[in-house]
Amino acid sequence: MSTNVARVLVCLEEVGAEYEVVNIDFQAKEHKSAEHLARNPFGQIPAFQDGDVVLFESRAISKYIIRKYKSAGEAADLLREGDLREAAMVDVWTEVEAHQYNPALSPVVYECLIYPAMRGVPTNQKVVDESLEKLRKVLDVYEARLSKHTYLAGDSVSFADLNHFPFTFYFMATPHASLFDSYPHVKAWWERLVARPSMKKLGATMAAAAAGIKQA
C-alpha cells in the first residue's frame, strides 16, 4: 500500500469516518488517465473525494478530514487549531517528519524493501549506510524531544505523530529495525503509536499488501 495513501487512511480511522478505497491500477497507467488527472493533476495517489470536494496531497487531505470531524472527541485535538502555540508545535513536527525524518529513513525502506520487490534490483548498501547515518542524527533530536514529552507536539497524540506511521512501519520490516533500540524514548513512542487501533488495523492491511508484492 502506498505510504501516502496509508497516511490518509490513518487519519480517517482516527476520526472514525466512513470511507471507501478505490484502487488505481498503476500497471494499466490509470494514474495518468484523464479521469484521474481530473482528481490529481500531477497523476499521483492519493486523490480524495468528499461530495464536490476533490483534493490531492496526502497531508492536505488528512488535515481536511481532521478538521471536518472536529467534533468527534479525541480527533478534535489532532491539529490543536484552537490554540496558536500548540498548533504551531504540531506544524513544526509535521514539517520535521517531511523534511528531516522521512528523507533520512525512507531511502532505507526503498533500498531494502521496495526496489528489490518492485524492480528486482539489489539493495544499494552505500545509500542505506548514508541514510542510517543521517537517521541516527535525526533520532538523537527525537530522543531528546521525547524524553521531555510523551508525543512530539506535546503530551497527547497529534497529526505530527500520525505522519510518522507509514514509512516507520515499513522501516520496522527492514533488517535495520533494531536501530530504534538505541533510542529508548523513541522506541517507546513508536510502540505507543502502533498500539493504536487505527495503526493495528492499517498495519495488518499494509503487511498483507507487502506480502502480496513479494510473492508477485
Partner: protein, 222 residues
C-alpha cells in the same frame, strides 16, 4: 509586546518565506543576522533554538519555532488568518494542497538550478548542466499544472492571495534571476501570478534584502 525575532541570513529563500509572511502580517519583527559561512547555525546557542541546526528560527516571547512553513502558518494564523483561510473547510484545504505542492515539487526542482546557475561560481563548484537540465525538465512538467490552475483562479488557493502563494516567493525570486526565467515566462498565467506577487509591498521589502547573487559578488558572503 516585544517584537518577534527571526534568526538567520536574509538572503536565504527559506528565511524569505518567513519574512514575507511577517511583512504581510504587518507585525513588528527584528532580524537577528547570522553568518552561514561563519557556521553560526551549528553553534550550541543556535542548536538550543533549533536542534536541527537550520534557519529561520522565530522567537515570539517564550515560543521558539523552526521550519519555515510552520513559522509562516503560525504568523499568518495569529495576525492574518484569512491568509490561511482559517475556518473555511474547503478554502483551508486548497491552501494546504498548494503549500504541499510547493514543498514537494518546487523547492526540490528550483534549488538545484539556483545552486548551479548562481551560487556555484562563487563557491568553486563546477556548473553541472546535467543537473540543471534534469530539473528544468521536471519544471516544464510542473508548470502546465500551475498554468491550468491559475487560468481558473487568480491565486493558487482561489481568487485571493494566501500562504500558498507567499510560500513560493523565495525560491521563485532566485530562479527568475537565472538565465532560465523564460521557462516560466512561457506560461502567461504563471507569469501574471508571479508579476502580481512581485508588485506586493511585502515582497518588495523582503526582496530588497535578497540580491540576485546572494551577496557573493559584493563580498557580503552569507
Amino acid at each position: 509586546m516585544a517584537p518577534m525575532k527571526v534568526y538567520g541570513w536574509a538572503v536565504s529563500p527559506w528565511m524569505a518565506r518567513a519574512l514575507v509572511c511577517l511583512e504581510e502580517a504587518g507585525v513588528e519583527y527584528e532580524i537577528v543576522p547570522m553568518s552561514r559561512c561563519g557556521g553560526d547555525h551549528r553553534r550550541p546557542e543556535h542548536l538550543a533554538r533549533n536542534p536541527f541546526g537550520e534557519i529561520p528560527v522565530l522567537e515570539d516571547g517564550d515560543l521558539t519555532l523552526y521550519q519555515s512553513r510552520a513559522i509562516a502558518r503560525y504568523v499568518l494564523r495569529k495576525y492574518k488568518p484569512e491568509l490561511v483561510k482559517e475556518g473555511d473547510l474547503e478554502g483551508s484545504a486548497m491552501v494546504d494542497v498548494w503549500m504541499e505542492v510547493e514543498a514537494h515539487n518546487i523547492e526540490a526542482t528550483l534549488w538545484p538550478i539556483i545552486r548551479h546557475c548562481i551560487i556555484g561560481q562563487y563557491v568553486g563548484r563546477d556548473r553541472d548542466q546535467a543537473v540543471i537540465d534534469e530539473n528544468l525538465e521536471k519544471l516544464r512538467r510542473l508548470l502546465p499544472v500551475y498554468e491550468a490552475r491559475l487560468s481558473v483562479c487568480k491565486y493558487l488557493a482561489g481568487d485571493d492571495i494566501t500562504a500558498a502563494d507567499l510560500c513560493h516567493f523565495g525560491f521563485m525570486r532566485y530562479f527568475m534571476a537565472t538565465e532560465y526565467a523564460g521557462v516560466v515566462d512561457a506560461f502567461p498565467h504563471v507569469k501574471a501570478w508571479w508579476d502580481a506577487l512581485l508588485a506586493r509591498p511585502s515582497v518588495q521589502k523582503v526582496m530588497a534584502g535578497m540580491p540576485p547573487d546572494f551577496g557573493y559578488a559584493s563580498g557580503n558572503i552569507p
